[in-house]
Amino acid sequence: MAFKEILLNMGPQHPSTHGVLRLKVALDNEVVMKVTPVLGYLHRGMEKLFENRTYQQITPLTDRFDYLAAISNNLGYLLAVEKLMGIEVPKRAQYIRVIFTELQRLASHLAWVGFFANDIGAMSVLLYGFIEREDILEIFEEYSGARLTVHAFRVGGVPTDINDKIIDMINTFILKLPKRIADIETLLTGNRIWKHRTIGVGVISPEDAISLGLTGPSLRSTGIKWDIRKDIPYSSYQDFQFEVPTSANGDLYDRYVLRLEEIKQSMRIIRQALDTLPQGETLTKVPRVLKIAPGEVFHSIEAPKGELGFYIKSNGTDKPERVKMKSPSFINMQSLETMCLGNLFADIVAVLGSLDIVLGEIDK
């Protein structure tokens, strides 16, 4: 039987493209024949802007890359700069950085669970996720004054020490969170509709995942144990005990279960970091005008969405010659078509949700 393709244009304004992504979809009835993402609707020229800003001025701009995990971006960039300069960050500052990055990971994953569930139609979970996220943002606000674009760290450490109030807030939050996660799990994990929608959908094989450069939870869901926190430790992650959860099927359900498990592991790390917080300085002395001798460096961290890398080339002035960001969403987004082909139209939305993309990071 001859079929007639429907060409559907999703976006740039569409409720579930997570921003201003545009997808050109070819459908045969509801079966997906082709998905072509069109990017650039949020291209802000960040990399060009970086070449015209000093090293310190760039740090707050990195917040605007992945606005759901601003602190991870700060950390990734700063670690690259510090590696390029060859300076060591005080131990206490490293621990504080770990605490805040892990809190940010919690916030990002909670928002992800909400958005993903909302894409599949369970709208209450979005709101539940945001309640807990709000608590984390309050901690950030207490620490730095900002909620979303936090700018929590500086070159050489962290600007201010954390006080007892913040530690109290984190402790209460950590105590509260497991119950909330359990709530979300009762709503979703065992739900038949949820399982129908996620198990066996958006499957990707480990070979494809590696070839496409997939990282983060999406890669781990195919069974490859790869977590930069464990494999190439940075910022004292080697001091903490935690597991890297993996699963074998590479479908949406696995990605969901993995992220919930990662939330639990992050709580473990935060607890350990708070218990063993060393005393001492929080900021190394760095010159106010930061001039870095010519050189180049690539450093990557495990952001909530995958591997976040910064390539920095310096030229001896206070501004970098080139900053290139390896954004996890950009790489993960490439695999959308592989995951979607032959599935139904509704699955595009679910797969897109599961990839945890942020357009600020994709379009730069």
């Binding site: 409720p15 209450s124 929608r197 139209f345 509704a346």
Partner: protein, 343 residues
């Protein structure tokens, strides 16, 4: 003015007006209730600024939509585009003619019936009339000359086609017992039987309920208007008062579905255990109130389901109908027929 004129003309007209308004009032209540209840499920407050606890919110919305620009964009089939909201809304309101909102009340010598029309095939008519709404959805989706509405309309056709069958089968099992398609008779037979059909035929009720949730395009079966996939589904291109028609029609259909569930399975205007003498004081409360209480329960159920479940996918939805509900309802009918004829 003679007594018979009042009985024959004026009272029916008043009844028609009331029955016409009743679903609309219920729609208003439902819009408010849904927004509040879903908000409470999600640990929010919901609209509470306009009127007492925000009760005027739906009215405010309606006024606003009424004064909004009504866009008919180019490339639209004007006749179908304009007729479909009307079809959708009025098909559901029309069906209320045959729904008994209460029992018969004795006022002097006059017997006041709480229904507009009594037909020996009332049930069939209701199912027929309410199915007209799918034409509204298809016309609306097709005439919009846009792809998302078209996809929404296509989904809607498949959905209604699939789920009409289990509804009909589960209703058929009622008719086995009531021996009538007259809605009033069905309620009276439940009184005679001393037990509501819902408790007698639980399988039929479950099939019926799942199917009507699907037919009203409510979560988890809200595929024709699935927001995360199809923007706003078949009414994406509608604005202003026409959109309000679609918006109200969705709730009117919910009220209709709940009313059907109450009348067919839960004894319409009857109080609980109508034949138990010890509970006869329940008869003091008018039948209309019982009916209202019961439909409120089912309407609440609609909202509760929406706040909890994820959305079905298109193929799962069709599979559920054809692989589970239809065979199950066939088997159900077989068993009931067997029991009816031999027991």
């Amino acid at each position: 003015m003679s007594n018979s004129l009042a009985a024959d003309l004026i009272i029916p007209i008043i009844k028609i007006i009331i029955v016409g308004l009743f679903p609309l009032i219920m729609v208003m209540v439902m819009v408010w209730l849904e927004r509040r209840v879903v908000a409470f499920i999600q640990l929010r407050l919901g609209p509470n600024r306009v009127g007492f606890q925000g009760i005027l919110q739906p009215i405010v919305d309606a006024i606003k939509l009424f004064f909004k620009e009504d866009i008919t964009h180019t490339g639209v089939d004007k006749v179908l585009f304009n007729i479909s909201p009307v079809l959708v809304l009025f098909s559901s309101i029309l069906a209320f003619c045959f729904i008994p909102l209460g029992g018969t009340m004795q006022i002097g010598t006059y017997n006041l019936n709480f229904w507009v029309a009594e037909s020996p095939v009332g049930l069939l008519l209701i199912i027929g009339i309410s199915s007209i709404s799918v034409f509204g959805v298809i016309f609306g989706g097709w005439s919009s000359n846009s792809k998302y509405p078209l996809l929404g309309a296509l989904r809607s056709v498949v959905q209604i086609l699939s789920y009409e069958i289990p509804v009909a089968f589960s209703v058929l099992s009622i008719i086995f017992f009531s021996q009538s398609m007259n809605m009033i008779d069905i309620v009276n037979r439940q009184k005679d039987a001393g037990i509501w059909y819902g408790f007698m035929l639980p399988v039929s009720f479950v099939i019926f309920w799942i199917s009507v949730v699907a037919e009203t395009n409510r979560a988890p079966f809200d595929l024709p208007e699935a927001e995360s996939e199809l923007v706003a589904g078949f009414h994406t291109e509608y604005s202003g008062i026409k959109f309000a028609y679609f918006y109200m029609a969705e709730y009117a259909h919910m009220v209709l579905a709940s009313s059907l569930a109450v009348v067919l399975f839960f004894g319409g205007w009857l109080p609980p255990f109508p034949n138990v003498a010890a509970l006869s004081f329940l008869h003091v409360i008018p039948g209309f109130v019982w009916y209202l209480l019961k439909i409120m329960f089912f309407l609440y159920l609609f909202i509760w389901i929406r706040g909890t479940f994820p959305r079905y996918r298109f193929d799962e939805l069709v599979r559920l109908a054809w692989k589970w509900l239809i065979p199950l309802s066939l088997l159900n009918i077989l068993v009931i027929a067997f029991v009816r004829s031999f027991a």
